[in-house]
């Protein structure tokens, strides 16, 4: 393998894009698993009920709020 290929800006850009996509996928998967367990308390229906909808929407926002809060608290503990 030609080692200079590894340093090609085009390839680096591609790898960074894929990295970013992987991070987004991971975060989406995390939100879905956590909020599914919190919000879908009965047998899944043929569509989400309005209370499930609003729970899912609140759940994601509050999870992100909490992440920020934990990050802040954690930094203060250092």
């Amino acid at each position: 393998m030609d080692p200079s290929a590894i340093n090609s800006p085009e390839l680096l850009q591609f790898i960074n894009q894929e990295k970013e996509r992987a991070m987004i996928n991971e975060m989406v998967a995390k939100l879905t698993t956590v909020c599914w367990d919190k919000c879908i308390t009965s047998t899944p229906g043929s569509k989400f009920s309005s209370s499930e909808q609003s729970c899912l929407s609140n759940c994601a926002r509050r999870y992100l709020d909490m992440s920020a809060l934990i990050m802040k608290r954690f930094q203060n503990m250092q």
Binding site: V28, L31, A60
Partner: protein
């Protein structure tokens, strides 16, 4: 990881960036699909097969397909939410 080796076209060890990209994308997509399937199995078994019987009942089967649809729907929603925020 031997599928990242050079394509069969050349005898040299020429690095082909397009082939590398395709292979990387395919492997990532496959890993993602496997993980997602495993999540679907865990979540829908949990919701739909509450008391395993001697076979999957009709209502369990239909619960499983609704569960899969809703889980995919929630994933798509959160994907939009993260990408657009």
């Amino acid at each position: 990881m031997d599928s990242f080796s050079s394509p069969s076209s050349g005898s040299s060890s020429q690095f082909n960036s397009d082939v590398f990209k395709d292979q990387l994308k395919n492997q990532l997509a496959q890993a993602y699909a496997e993980e997602f399937l495993e999540t679907l199995r865990a979540k829908c078994f949990d919701k739909c097969v509450t008391k395993p019987g001697s076979s999957l009942s009709g209502s369990e089967s239909s619960c499983i397909s609704r569960c899969m649809d809703r889980y995919v729907e929630a994933t798509d929603k959160y994907n939009d939410f993260i990408v657009l925020s």
